[in-house]
Every structure is written in C-alpha cells, then in structure tokens.
C-alpha cells in the first residue's frame, strides 16, 4: 500500500494502481474516453489529465497511465487541468459533432462547442482512441483493423479499407468503442461489419442466431474444441 494525497484527501492505494484508479477508489471522479478495462492503455485522449506536485515542481500527467507513488500530491481540478480537458472536448466536438457521448460529457463538464472551428463532416464518431485496434489485436488476436496515416490524416479501419479476410465478425471492436463509431448491423442470419457480411450460426437449442460461423471456427481452431460442440449459445449451455 502507498499513501498519496488527491485533492487534499489522504488516499491509500495498492502499489500497482494508476492515479486514476486511486482517485476513483476515493470517490473522486476523473473523466476518461480511451480507457477500457479489456485493453491496454494508449493515453490518446488526454481527458484524464491531473496535476502532480513533487517538491516545488508541478506537472500535468495522464492519470490513466501514471502509477501511484508514496507521498505523491495530486490535484484533479486545477485551472490548468480543466483547460486541457475543455480544449480536448472542444476539439473532439468539432471533429465528431454526431457523437452523443461527447455531447453528454461536454454538458456535464459545462463545455460549449467552439464555434470558431469548422466542424468536420468526414470523421464519423471516431476519436482515434485505438481501443478497437487493441482489442482486436490483444484479446481477439487477429489484428484485422488498424490506424492508418499520420497526424491529422489518421483513420481507423481495415488495411486499404478493403474487406478483411482475417476479421471474424466478433464485434469486440464495437463493444469497446467509446463513441459508437463502428457500425455493425444484423438481420436474420447475416451480420455486417467493416464492409463484410458474415453468416451467423443459429443455436441448436433455442434457434437464436448467436455468433458468426467464422468466429466459431476461429475459436475452435484456437482452443481445440470441436466445432460441433460450439453450436449452442451461452444462454442454453
């Protein structure tokens, strides 16, 4: 256990925690967008910034990536911190004006859209947080999607935006995306995602379409479980 001070409060934290978790465990809220419990952290959104004090020096750090330290003094609401958060939200609202998640967050933080910025119309709701790419690589293990191009031209998708033959249609990327950018539609025995249509397997007991056949094949190959044994959905198992 280490002791630190967050917003003037003495907080005890496990030594493996990040400042974000330590603050949350003490009931101090810090907004985040690119943190998801299933994937490693990228530090991309910068919304979770806090100010730390060491001796007489203060510094802005991202709380989701900064490990707790004995005696660390953290402020989560200084003017400097708020200014970074406000700027991040203004910039993201101009990039993704259709994202309800961002609007809700802005409202809660009292941030108005910056009217001087010309609103983007070609970015969808993607804030380029990388969570989808990481879940596909780290958890699913197929790396079907990635971030392409540099700087302000960066986009998310399959290589060359073509249909991917390694995507298994699992929808994990949809699940972790904080803004709902990734479109996945299901109708009957078909699921559409990243421009590809997947055939779904119906549960042998209840008849519900529960997973793409490609996904079941992939799991079967990875775990050695015969495909035949996987034709029943989790509810009926």
């Amino acid at each position: 256990m280490v002791n630190l001070i967050i917003d003037g409060k003495n907080v005890k934290a496990d030594k493996n925690m990040m400042v974000l978790e330590a603050a949350r465990s003490a009931g101090i809220d810090i907004p985040t967008l690119c943190v998801h419990e299933s994937v490693s952290r990228s530090g991309a959104c910068r919304l979770c910034v806090v100010e730390i004090k060491k001796g007489s020096r203060t510094r802005i750090v991202t709380s989701c990536l900064y490990p707790v330290e004995e005696g660390l003094v953290v402020d989560t609401k200084t003017e400097r911190v708020q200014n970074v958060r406000r700027l991040v939200l203004e910039l993201l609202l101009a990039r993704c004006p259709e994202s309800d998640v961002l609007w809700k967050m802005a409202k809660e933080m009292g941030v108005e859209p910056q009217t001087r910025f010309a609103v983007d119309t070609d970015k969808g709701k993607c804030i380029l947080c990388r969570s989808c790419v990481r879940v596909c690589e780290e958890i699913v293990g197929v790396s079907a999607i990635g971030l392409f191009n540099r700087g302000s031209h960066k986009t998310v998708g399959t290589p060359f935006m073509e249909k991917s033959d390694v995507c298994i249609g699992c929808g994990a990327c949809v699940y972790v995306c904080p803004t709902g950018h990734i479109e996945m539609t299901s109708a009957g025995d078909k699921r559409k995602i990243w421009g590809r249509t997947f055939k779904m397997q119906a549960c042998e007991k209840c008849g519900k379409y529960f997973a793409p056949i490609d996904q079941l094949k992939y799991i079967s190959k990875k775990t050695g479980t015969p495909l035949k044994e996987m034709m029943i959905c989790t509810n009926c198992r």
Partner: protein, 174 residues
C-alpha cells in the same frame, strides 16, 4: 522559437503571422496523430492562422490561439506536441501588433500575405520604360511608352516579378 533548438533570423520583410503559419503547417505534418491535443489542436491553430493571413481573421482569434496553444503544450503526450505551440506563442508575445493589423485592418505590415496586399505604381517615379510589362506573367501591368504605367489588381497575382524588374523603385506594396 522553434522547439528543435534551431534559430532563425528574420527582418522586417518577414510577416510573423505567416512565419507562425509556416511552422504550424510543418508541425501538423510532423504530428504522429496519436493524442488529441496535438493532432487536433495544431490543425485548428493552422486553420485560424490561415484565416488571419487571408483576411478572414476574427476578433478574439489571438486569445483563442493562446488558449489552444497553452492546452496543446500542457496536454500533449510527447515533446513534439509540447513544443508545437511555441511559434504561435512567441510570435504573439513579440509581434502582437502584426496580428492585430491583419485581423482589424486587413493589412499585412510586412507585405507578405498575398490576400492582404496590393501592388501599385508611383506615377512620379515611373518612367514608362515598360520592363514590368515584359516580366508580368499575367499581363496585369500596362501603359503607354514613356508614360506612367498601371497595375490591374484583378489580374495581379502578387508574384513580385515587377518589383524585381523596376529600376526606378516605382512599384510599391501596401
């Protein structure tokens, strides 16, 4: 002024807003794009600087630039984003009046920003030699031999060729 430790020497013929725009454009291309403040903030600063250089600057733009610059410097992930706002912040600090001239008077004091300048010929100095007519790529200069010449501002692209050519310093930029 630049984060890289480089030093650039400039004189009064450099427009400081144009200089800030130049570096910010360069930095926008250099940004890896991973974090929001640098990727989106540098781009927005460049857009505003471009507006100012083309006479579309708005009252409040300088304050907004300072606000974005500070947030980008504080909030970016790596040193590139941390120093990307320096050209903007230092030109505002030392040449604030140049920004104001562009925004409020639509005037580029250094005569660099093409959208904000006009070329004209001083009839007192012009001898009607016709050299400027020869060099102008868009036929914007005209006049009778030995009489003061004129520049058609609709046609003029502010390339500066006529100024270079005139031996009598008759062409001025305002």
């Amino acid at each position: 002024m630049m984060g890289s430790g480089g030093m650039i020497v400039m004189d009064e013929s450099s427009c400081m807003v144009d200089v800030a725009k130049y570096f910010t454009t360069f930095l926008q291309e250099e940004s890896c794009g991973k974090c929001v403040p640098c990727r989106e903030g540098v781009r927005r600063m460049r857009e505003i600087l471009e507006d100012i250089c083309t006479g579309k600057g708005k009252e409040g733009d300088v304050a907004l630039l300072e606000k974005i610059a500070t947030g980008v410097a504080d909030g970016s992930l790596c040193a590139l984003g941390g120093s990307a706002p320096n050209p903007v912040l230092s030109t505002i600090k030392y040449f604030r009046e140049e920004y104001d001239a562009h925004i409020r008077e639509h005037r580029c004091p250094a005569g660099v920003c093409k959208a904000l300048i006009t070329y004209s010929i001083d009839p007192e100095k012009c001898t009607g030699c016709g050299l400027c007519v020869k060099v102008c790529p868009t036929q914007a200069t005209s006049g009778e031999k030995k009489k003061p010449h004129k520049i058609d501002n609709e046609k003029c692209t502010r390339c500066g060729a006529c100024i270079e050519s005139c031996k009598f310093d008759a062409i001025t930029v305002k």
